[in-house]
């Protein structure tokens, strides 16, 4: 098993120092880093140069989630203004604006199959209004479909191969299989705050309040592995987790400013890393929360973003 990169390479800061809610690498090689923060703007960083390449601002409230299309031409952002923006990366302008959510939108993902040479055809978003909405990238206007099964806010959505996964605060992950016309509801017992799909599409990692991450089998609904740690705390905030190293490890930031890395197979903690520079415990407020982590499989790097407005890019030591 390859070692997990634990050396902070770069520390990126936002000009406003406001908390960062969303973090994602660009598709493909993942050269770039997108952050969505409370100051209502989305920033495109080049982690190698620690420079802000582009700032995208149209949101009226905080930006809560980001997703980059496969062809890197566009990305989608959602936020507290109940609006979904589709951006053109290059020009820095929003090309689509989808409205329809009646609560703040907390999760977004690209989905569907685009034509040759183009990105995905739909954007899937989930929001506090308890709905998952599917928008057509190519058409302005109304959503393609609204999924209203969730009993509470939808905190995260993931799109797989012909499936849409939605994790909800009502403690359930709903997996909509479009081909079968069935939705499988897995009850996790606690509010789901993050979802990430395994590389094979047969399992997913769900982070729940209460400080537990579960690797669930999508076919059977069984729990493959449960990740927990005494030092890991997630009681209140929506912290994003991710699978890394070809589903070898699960990474999740905690509310006390630490990032915990688990081994998927054994379920044991491999690393406990401080997101903050000085390696000290956060003050307990939201500035100490490590709100999002993102894995770049191509470069074997990962990044963590926190409530203090900094992004740390981790890599293997020199």
């Amino acid at each position: 098993m390859p070692p997990f990169p634990t050396t902070p390479l770069t520390r990126l800061t936002t000009p406003s120092n406001s908390p960062i809610h969303a973090l994602t690498f660009s598709s493909g090689s993942g050269q770039y880093l997108l952050t969505g923060s409370s100051d209502r703007s989305i920033r495109l960083y080049n982690p190698n140069t620690s420079r802000i390449i582009q700032t995208y601002s149209a949101h009226g409230y905080e930006v809560l989630d980001l997703a980059v299309s496969r062809d890197n031409a566009r990305f989608v952002s959602v936020g507290g203004d109940k609006t979904v923006f589709l951006w053109d990366v290059e020009s820095g302008v929003s090309v689509r604006r989808f409205t329809g959510h009646t609560g703040r939108v907390e999760g977004c993902a690209f989905g569907g199959e685009g034509g040759e040479g183009s990105g995905e055809s739909v954007v899937v978003t989930g929001g506090r209004d308890g709905t998952v909405r599917v928008w057509d990238v190519r058409a302005k206007g109304k959503e393609v479909m609204v999924l209203r099964e969730a009993g509470d806010a939808v905190s995260s959505v993931v799109v797989g191969d012909g499936i849409i996964l939605a994790g909800s605060v009502d403690g359930r992950v709903r997996c909509y299989d479009l081909a079968a016309g069935k939705a499988e509801v897995d009850c996790l017992g606690a509010s789901v705050v993050s979802l990430s799909l395994g590389g094979d599409g047969e399992s997913y990692l769900a982070g729940t309040l209460g400080g537990k991450l579960r690797l669930m089998d999508r076919r059977s609904g069984g729990c493959l592995q449960t990740f927990r740690d005494d030092d890991f705390k997630n009681e209140e905030y929506r912290v994003r987790s991710t699978l890394a190293q070809v589903d070898g490890v699960a990474v999740c930031g905690g509310e006390d400013g630490r990032v915990v890395v688990w081994d998927v197979l054994s379920g044991e903690v491999r690393e406990r890393l401080w997101h903050t520079e000085k390696g000290e415990r956060g003050d307990g407020g939201k500035r100490g929360v490590v709100s999002a982590v993102a894995w770049n499989g191509v470069r074997e790097q990962w990044a963590s973003a926190g409530g203090d407005g900094t992004v740390v890019v981790w890599g293997a030591g020199e």
Binding site: G28, S29, Q31, Y32, N46, R70, D71, N72, A73, V89, E90, G111, G112, E113, G114, G115, E116, G117, S118, S121, V122, V134, D136, V144, M145, L147, E149, G151, D152, D161, G162, V169, G171, Y176, D177, L178, A179, A180, G181, K182, A183, E184, V185, D186, C187, L188, G189, A190, S191, L209, G210, R214, M216, S220, G221, G222, C223, T226, E236, V298
Partner: protein, 714 residues
């Protein structure tokens, strides 16, 4: 400036200069048009008239010139001082139409009055009807004449009825009816003539307008009393006049005497014979020769010692007559003015029905025995219970016992009633004499089985939705935590309510116990009330809980999780999740109907229950469909397509994938297109316009850095 102002009128200046050809500056006035209203157009001065708003030829007020006078408001006329030709208006007097038309035009009072005068006059005017109005104003005046029709029709003019009567030969003062053959009045020896019947007086039901007691005549010495007395006298005069001649003969005698002793009859006396009463006919004017009215007259009567002289001053013979008739004890006239029938005397005492014992029935002497009583009746009387109250207390049974009848074989309903039911009936009907309740059992063969009884009881328990009952129950239990629930003040009732809810929620099966003190009706009524309460208080909480997810799900802290999640603990999936038993326990499958467009966007064949397509085409398409199973078949199809699209994206973007893959991928995508063509599908996923707009490689390189990175990655 001035020229600018006048610009709007320049057109008229150009177009119509005929009447003012030399107007070089300013705007000429428009041409004179006698039809048009006065808008400042030119009028020759001799045609100008000064009139006021009433059209009167007047000039100005006192401060603006005074009265118009003469020609052009100067003194004189066009002809100078020549007066207009005198025209006599003699022939225009009277009903001549032309004159009538001209007259008000020429000279009216109004023409010489100014506004003040007119206003004054208008103030002084009182709007009133022309004459006494029927029933309203003229009653009193008409009543002076009296008589039947004047009383009946309170109009001063002749009413239609009067006109009709007059056509039939009636004249005022006469009675109605066939003519009476009799001698002329006072003419005892003359022949018999046909006379109109005597006028009978209408019963005048005068409106009582004062607040004096009934029959109060008023203070005699006051002026009003005098007036009334006068009226009275007039009435009596009339009464006398109406008396049948036959009867009045007796009474007339003193009148004769009077006449002889009268004096000062003068001219009036000359016209008729001595025998006749000059004032009996003709205008009914009562002369009072003595100033001061009747009262003084009466005083004179009292003081005069000489009975002959006593009569002298009065001419009202009939007045005397009434006095005499009044003085006769009991001699009064009926209300219609006629004397009562012979032998009858008008009662003076008012007839009242209240005095019932005035003419009591004769009392039966003590010890009187009717001699005519038959034997049978006496028997009945003796055998009968002596007081009437006994009659009422008798019921059919006792009556039958008295009569010696055989008791009926049937049973009364009371035989089956319970004593309590009978008591209720007794209180409801207020009858104490209801037969005693025997609370007998139903006859054999008709008894209710225990199950039937339970069933009939359970019919009384109203139906309630299980979920509603559960919600209401939960709410009731949640009351202890500060919420509000029904019957919180009545613990016993609340327990019954809880039992009812748990019965309907399914946790209890036995019927709710009925308290001993409660009647069946009250019990069932209370149950119905419980049902309503549950319906009111249940769904609110269930609706709310549907809307808000209780924090028991989010349940991080155990205390809140247990507290609120009481009702939600039932979810087995969550229980299982809490226990870590993931798998079939925590998984549930629901149907989901993706829209066709969504499936199209995901490049997924819509599920059978959405598309309605059969699996046949899919089986023909996919390889090894039978082994892969129904659900994996579209997946396989998808995989093929994925390969194709990956390859194409790789071609354009060059982000991932290997060189060697390209060839296969292209082949696959070729195959895919072929298969699509076979199926006759339109490739909706391709949008030439969008794809054409894609930015070139250079742009992406500029934005996302150089190629060397990719090479490194690969």
């Amino acid at each position: 400036m001035s020229s600018q102002k006048k610009r709007p009128f320049s057109s008229t200046l150009d177009s119509n200069p005929s009447h003012a050809p030399y107007a070089l500056i300013g705007t000429p006035l428009p041409a004179y048009d006698p039809e048009a209203r006065d808008d400042g157009s030119y009028v020759p001065i001799w045609k100008q008239e000064v009139t006021d708003e009433r059209g009167r030829k007047r000039l100005h007020g006192a401060f603006t010139g005074g009265w118009s006078a003469g020609y052009f408001n100067s003194v004189g006329s066009k002809e100078g001082w020549t007066p207009s030709t005198f025209m006599s208006s003699r022939g225009k007097k009277g009903g001549d139409d032309d004159a009538g038309k001209e007259k008000p035009k020429g000279q009216r009072v109004e023409d010489f009055m100014d506004e003040e005068d007119l206003a004054e006059r208008a103030e002084g005017e009182v709007i009133s009807t022309q004459d006494g109005f029927a029933g309203l104003g003229g009653g009193r005046r008409a009543g002076a004449e009296g008589g039947m029709f004047t009383d009946l029709f309170r109009a001063t003019g002749e009413t239609m009825g009067v006109k009709l009567l007059q056509r039939m030969g009636w004249r005022a003062g006469q009675g109605i009816g066939p003519k009476v053959r009799r001698k002329a009045k006072g003419d005892e020896k003359g022949e018999v003539h046909l006379f109109a019947p005597e006028d009978s007086r209408m019963i005048g039901l005068g409106k009582k307008k004062d607040r004096k007691g009934l029959g109060f005549a008023g203070e005699e010495k006051l002026g009003s009393g005098e007036a009334e007395a006068k009226e009275e006298e007039e009435d009596s005069e009339r009464d006398a006049k109406m008396m049948p001649s036959g009867r009045s003969k007796v009474l007339v005698k003193p009148k004769q005497k009077l006449k002889k002793s009268g004096f000062g009859m003068g001219v009036l006396n000359d016209t008729g014979s001595d025998d006749e009463d000059a004032y009996d006919m003709g205008p009914k004017i009562s002369y009072n020769r003595i100033i001061g009215g009747d009262k003084k007259k009466k005083g004179l009567l009292a003081t005069n010692a000489n009975p002959a002289v006593q009569q002298k001053p009065t001419f009202g013979a009939s007045k005397k007559l009434t006095k005499q008739t009044n003085s006769l004890a009991g001699f009064r006239k009926c209300h219609d003015g006629r004397l009562p029938l012979d032998g009858f005397v008008l009662t003076t005492a008012p007839l009242t029905l209240l005095q019932e014992n005035k003419y009591p029935p004769p009392t039966v002497p003590e010890g009187w025995q009717p001699s005519r009583l038959s034997q049978t009746t006496s028997n009945t009387v003796t055998s009968r219970p002596n007081t009437s109250t006994d009659l009422q207390t008798l019921d059919p049974k006792s009556r039958a016992a008295i009569l010696g009848e055989q008791p009926l074989p049937g049973k009364s309903i009371f035989s089956f009633l319970t004593p309590s039911a009978r008591d209720r009936l007794a209180t409801a009907t207020n009858r104490k004499d209801l037969p005693p309740a025997l609370s007998e059992k139903a006859p054999p063969g008709f008894e209710l089985s225990e199950a039937d009884r339970q069933k009939s009881l359970s019919d009384l328990v109203p139906e309630l939705d299980k979920a509603t009952a559960a919600a209401a129950l939960q709410r009731l239990d949640g009351d202890s935590r500060g919420g509000w629930a029904p019957y919180s003040e009545d613990a016993a009732k609340r327990d019954r309510y809880r039992y009812f809810l748990s019965l309907r929620a399914g946790t209890e099966t036995i019927l709710p116990p009925r308290p001993e003190s409660m009647a069946l009706d009250d019990w069932s009524r209370e149950l119905t009330e419980f049902k309503r309460a549950a319906e009111v208080f249940g769904p609110i909480s269930s609706a709310m809980s549907g809307r808000f997810t209780s924090s028991g799900v989010a349940g991080s802290s155990p205390s809140t999780g247990q507290g609120v999640g009481g009702g939600r603990e039932e979810d087995p999936a969550e229980k299982a999740a809490k226990l870590g038993m993931f798998g079939p326990m925590t998984r549930s499958t629901i149907d989901f109907y993706p829209t066709r467009l969504l499936c199209k966007r995901f490049n997924v064949r819509p599920p059978a229950h959405v598309s309605g397509e059969t699996d046949a085409s899919g089986a023909g398409n996919g390889a090894g469909g039978s082994s892969a199973g129904k659900s994996s078949m579209p997946g396989l199809d998808r995989m093929i397509r994925d390969g194709g699209f990956k390859a194409s994206s790789f071609v354009s973007g060059g982000m991932e994938g290997g060189e060697k893959e390209r060839g296969e991928a292209l082949v696959t995508s070729e195959g895919l297109r072929e298969s699509r063509a076979r199926r006759g599908e339109v490739d909706v996923e391709r949008n030439e316009a969008l794809e054409g707009m894609r930015a070139g490689e250079a742009v992406f390189r500029a934005v996302f850095g150089g190629d060397e990175d990719e090479e490194e990655d690969q």
